[in-house]
Subunit: 281 residues, 2 copies
């Protein structure tokens, strides 16, 4: 979804894709060389080759792809090259797809501006995930890009997620303060929020604060979150959810038919999503 | 400081350097191609050439170097190559120096493990900065590296720093909860904490919670923090402080004598530090 000409074009295109594909699936491209099929290891660029085959096999079932930068940085220069090739491949061949750099960045203002440049300009992602701990000026340089989306961590899916996010502040839990405060920053309509599927009980409370924003929801599958539970309180009139699955799809098979196995898993989730969308629309 | 053979060797080596150099200066290598001397832009790798000359000119006055990854990622593959060459250059030529990847990473457990691999194994830094928002399992994969240091954001120097860090939780401000909780995680002696120099008033309170841990202190210089104020409550018997200066040193000059100008600025800070150490020891 590069070359978006108008502000928020990418959100409108995303909603259109959801309607057409009857899917709100995001596939996490978290490529670990110890887990991919052995026959790919002899390729010149095993990470890109793996991603390319996964994307080719699943692009009609998913609306978004989300490489997590950690898995690329762990392989140094070759990893960054594979990340660049992957986003270029999507932007060239499937420009309708919504692309998310799952980078969880955040730093003082002038430094966050460099991260925004890295992901929005150099790599040309549609969206990037950002951590809120450093506050307003650490997030606003991302929000300054009007045709891009900033996905702020709110309530994460991991075991330690509530260590701090669940702390009660003067008024309410920290994650609620994060949600409310973020709405006061510049261009708040460019925000999405990360809310883990493992915290499905919280979605009703979260929808009171952000009734319409899209939520990026990791944690379905390997981490134990349930799609039906999330949708019960998470859905909006525009769908408003991107459900991410990484390991459950990309490592469904580990032989030469891995892409087909991934497609089968993506299809199962898409079918479940189609049923939910039909029931709710 | 690569090839550390023993747990915490790097902390002992750091303290030895502070004693020998009478300095606790960390130099931030935040290289912006629009700010470096023009004559370097014709080099094959301007970023690395700039870093090399800064390091060669200042290594006797500083104990640590801290490239912020944002400035390298903004230049894509070339940026990552320059980052790799910079850390390799330090580890080969000045192995006594303490090296910090200012990356502010943090993700779910298996993903944080990949970041730890990237910075501790692939790039071979001594330390990495980590954001606390995602809690225990987002930080512990870094702490699992026993001969490496994990520098957790506590109270940052930027304008938005108190947006969330200053929120009162049930018991106390969030940054204090972060400090206290982190001490309960594995290998807490491998921790340092980021505390901004612009928040000098908070150092007495912070020292009640972490009396002996090293603090990495950005915000002296361009951001307005004051060295004397920080030292008043921040110093410990082992010094316990790393004062970072980035722009104030590396952009002191912008012609062919830029490295000498950087050395002069580093020397001024080192002299001030020597006086403080002599007065307090």
């Amino acid at each position: 979804m590069h070359n978006s000409l108008f502000e928020l074009m990418n959100k409108q295109e995303l909603i259109l894709q959801i309607q057409q594909k009857k899917s709100f699936l995001c596939i996490g491209l978290d490529v670990d060389l110890t887990k991919i099929p052995k026959h790919l290891l002899t390729c010149e660029d095993p990470i890109f080759e793996f991603n390319k085959q996964i994307i080719d096999a699943t692009h009609q079932l998913a609306v978004a792809y989300k490489p997590n930068t950690a898995f690329y940085e762990a392989y140094g220069i070759k990893g960054w090259q594979a990340l660049g090739k992957t986003i270029d491949y999507i932007n060239k061949n499937y420009p309708e797809l919504f692309t998310i750099a799952d980078a969880k960045r955040g730093d003082i203002g002038n430094t966050s501006a460099m991260y925004a440049k890295a992901f929005f300009e150099d790599l040309n992602f549609d969206a990037v995930t950002v951590a809120p701990y450093m506050g307003s000026d650490s997030v606003e340089p991302f929000l300054a890009f009007k045709n891009k989306t900033t996905i702020l961590l709110a309530l994460t899916s991991n075991k330690g997620g509530l260590d701090f996010q669940g702390l009660k502040t003067d008024n309410q839990e920290l994650y609620k303060e994060v949600l409310k405060t973020a709405l006061t920053w510049q261009n708040p309509k460019n925000l999405m929020f990360v809310v883990g599927a493992t915290k499905a009980d919280y979605f009703a409370e979260i929808r009171k604060i952000v009734p319409n924003h899209f939520l990026l929801v990791p944690g379905v599958g390997a981490q134990g979150g349930n799609l039906q539970d999330v949708c019960k309180f998470g859905l909006t009139k525009d769908c408003g959810l991107l459900i991410n699955s990484s390991r459950g799809i990309i490592y469904a098979g580990n032989d030469e038919n891995f892409a087909k196995a991934a497609k089968n898993e993506a299809f199962k989730l898409q079918q479940e999503m189609e049923q939910i969308l039909n029931e709710n629309n």
